[in-house]
Symmetry: C2
Amino acid sequence: MSLERFLNQSVSPWMNAEGPESDIILTSRIRLARNLKNHAFPTISSQEEAKKVLEKFQGMIPLLNLYPLKDAEFLKMEHLQPLHKQVLVEKHLISPNLAEQSSHGACLLSQDEVISIMVNEEDHIRIQCIFSGLQLEEAFNLANAVDDQLEQHLDYAFSEVRGYLTSCPTNTGTGLRASVMMHLPGLVMTQQMKQLIPSINQLGFAVRGIYGEGSEALGNIFQISNQMTLGKSEQEIILDLKNVVEQIVQQERSARESIVKTAGIQLEDKVWRSLGILKNSRIIETKEAAKCLSDVRLGIDIGYIENISKNILNELMILTQPGFLQQYAGGPLRPFERDVRRATLIRERLLLEKNS
Amino acid sequence: MSLERFLNQSVSPWMNAEGPESDIILTSRIRLARNLKNHAFPTISSQEEAKKVLEKFQGMIPLLNLYPLKDAEFLKMEHLQPLHKQVLVEKHLISPNLAEQSSHGACLLSQDEVISIMVNEEDHIRIQCIFSGLQLEEAFNLANAVDDQLEQHLDYAFSEVRGYLTSCPTNTGTGLRASVMMHLPGLVMTQQMKQLIPSINQLGFAVRGIYGEGSEALGNIFQISNQMTLGKSEQEIILDLKNVVEQIVQQERSARESIVKTAGIQLEDKVWRSLGILKNSRIIETKEAAKCLSDVRLGIDIGYIENISKNILNELMILTQPGFLQQYAGGPLRPFERDVRRATLIRERLLLEKNS
């Protein structure tokens, strides 16, 4: 498959670098956890029960008439190749849990991959919307519309006192998880990030790496999300997160300015060397690729590097993951082969840039 | 000054990569040490004596009619700026000793910089000829012709028993030092060089770095030269050195072949990354520049890199030395400024290459 065709098939619209504050914020994501009344929740349900939930959901799909869900694709986990599932995980469209451990797990995916509804994950239903840049309200509004649609056809487990009921009590209430993926090289380079994380935590927000809980902050990318789902309205949760994120954006911008002022040439050197490595290496591991992509993206944001699209980071952080590389190669690859393939894919992707 | 003009003025013809075995041998150099009868040798002579020798030499210059010395330039050390002397040292045209410590030191330099005759170095006269590639006989023949010319006008200190007399007994006899500058990345990478050096020494040859005694083998460049000047004819010395050098050339070729076979992709990765660094860095130290230049030259020799001239290594190893950088900048530079200027010069030089 040609790289261009592969990219056309692989790159979701929310991977572009066009939303508000997109110099620092890659994506905004909203997730709503819902469960069906009168059905045991997935964490304790039988295979049979799970099957019933799946059938109920599937039966309702033809009734959905929300435009963004037009021609949405329904994917049953048991029918998918492991590699295909891995790619969906790497694109953040399904969770590793749904891919590997669910019984009768499935996913309804909108054509543009902005909406993904997981069935039989930890909860019966998890609605997710991803937008590029800082667009939490927009993502929430869409998730809300999807939720309203589903509610017309499904009976949710809901308590007037506790709100939406969920398998894990940490999601009960709004069932809302709002998260923002941020590129914070300035705060990492100036050593501020380490101190910042505990203060963000104290405000009730979690800080994670690009692939969720326990994952490393590859490429200086951090996910900030609310930890509380109860005792606040959806709007409050989103507004609070937005406020924290906007403060971090300001701090990141100051950090970048101060590095440019105090160590401009060193930063330029770092950034250009990383571009040199991405354009030339024949073997590259995930970690080094992420580091270099982060440097190059920073170089583009600061204006050192021209003629290379900001999307480079957003796209390649995902497209150079093991599942994607193997999909592009058309079959399984050993780790070393992946490092070679990763280097090739990055070089070819950079060649697609004009005048690069 | 534009880089092209600077290069035109700076690059000597023997810096090109065109002589025999030029994939491995950069240059062949012959040096003849001679002293004048009836004058104290420089190491013990008075200022006055040194001045007389200089005047005697200078008086004879108009009488020289050897074509390669036509329009040769006579440079008195006391009249040269420190930077100019440093550049001549970096080009191997004069010794650091002549530049810094000689009394009434001078140098007669042919237009093409192939012939350089030092006056009042450790010996009264040192004739040097440099050729590109493996051309020891050619260099010796020219040095010999120069020597014959000088002998027509000067009385050499010569003993029928000991041959030419010199300040240091290690040069007595033929006064000949023949040396070959070799690029040996294959033997270094395969760890063979460390074992090879003692065996070369045992055969009576010295192994040094690019800037002579005590200098590091920057850029995997080694200088092999005869240690004995006595008890063998000039032809024997040259033939013995040539034999050793040709053996090393064979071993280097085998080492390269074996690396390509066993670790082709790793080598390709190394070579291309180095090119990426040279094309992109904004700050680079001598040592890293030399390492990268060596890698790139190897990549060109093996055929991984096309469209870049082999001269890159030969030229840039010399042009990125501190003196040259400061000459190009038009004045003194602090070490950090040199690292920045070095990176710029290398990038600009690479941009002069077609399609690079």
